[in-house]
Symmetry: C2
Subunit: 216 residues, 2 copies
């Protein structure tokens, strides 16, 4: 939707945003095809139909470009948990709300594009731990911190009984996603899950989590 | 210890076993350094001080050599669970026995050599899903099948209450190992865990698992 701004500035912003998006899409394609080390800025520029100078201007070095792609991919998961926090803050039925959160989470994280990035980050994190840390901080760590604060509130409200909220947040997320995520990590991207199967992983994970951490 | 066999045959067997071991160690070094695609049999032969023919004779193609390395690395985990099954079959205190199993498991799986292989397999499983599947079948799937049969027995004995033993086995293992394993996958091999920290992950995982699945 057009923004209520002077047309000139608005158009300029849109163009810059479009250029960034085009470069990021091209970079993702080249990173996934050639690996982090093999991906050349020349090639990304060629696929994006942009100059190397434009890429440097928008993103700086290759490392920063890759980090931006990671942050972009994790943005959706982060939004999901921000919304979840709002719902958990007002729910009186934690198990039902957590089930809805878990279902959304497992569907989002098993998107092929998300899992391809995850594989690439893990592949490179031995040699380039700073890339993996960027993912870890913007992904799992951020999600766990947010969930932990929510679990703390729910404990204060008497709806959960949790001594170590960050640990419990880790138990929650890994119970929900470990089965499908690890299957894809090892068995490749041809593994697909029926929506009902993903829901089942979410539902049973929440049942186990609730048994471990419910207040009553 | 020397085996009670004719010296000639025993020495011959030992030599063959030594050659296999030397080739596997060399191959591991080259695979981890150059990646699966980059690793050349010539280079493995040179590091092992063996001929390419010897490598082919013992292992066949590069793919088979890599699979053998995976199976070799996972053998220790498998032995651990075979021993665990024996203990779980006779225990009357499931939680204590599971805690001992979980502690051994989390210490074994966070060995740097194990995690380096895990990273390499995940890195290549997108392009070579058959390598990842070999790991998945010999590792997680085998462990979960063994644990599941044990959980079934414990349910029959009235010590656990589990409807879906394979799912419960997955909940058990991922609760125990996900935190440290994922941290290393993303943050690189410089991440180290104090033994007490690993024990804590094991103990709290078993506490959550037992709350979800105990019979009483």
């Amino acid at each position: 939707m057009p923004k209520a701004e002077p047309p000139q500035a608005g158009a300029g912003e849109d163009l810059a945003a479009q250029t960034r998006r085009r470069i990021m899409d091209a970079a993702m394609e080249v990173f996934l095809r050639d690996g982090y080390v093999g991906a050349k800025t020349d090639e990304i520029a060629s696929v994006a139909g942009a100059s190397k100078q434009t890429i440097y201007k928008h993103f700086g070095r290759k490392e920063k470009l890759f980090e931006q792609i990671i942050l972009d991919r994790l943005g959706g998961i982060d939004q999901l948990f921000q919304a979840a926090l709002g719902e958990l803050a007002i729910t009186d039925d934690v198990e039902t709300t957590l089930t809805a959160v878990a279902r959304q989470f497992v569907h989002a994280i098993t998107q092929p594009s998300h899992l391809r990035v995850r594989r690439l980050v893990i592949a490179e994190a031995g040699r380039f731990p700073e890339l993996g840390r960027a993912y870890f901080e913007a992904g799992p760590e951020r999600v766990h911190a947010a969930l932990a604060s929510s679990f703390e509130q729910l404990t204060h409200r008497g709806l959960l009984r949790i001594e170590d909220p960050v640990l419990a947040a880790n138990h929650f997320t890994w119970l929900v996603v470990s089965i499908p995520v690890n299957k894809v990590m090892f068995c490749g991207e041809d593994v697909h899950f029926a929506p009902a199967e993903l829901d089942h992983y979410a539902d049973t994970a929440v049942r186990a989590f609730a048994a471990a951490y419910r207040a009553s």
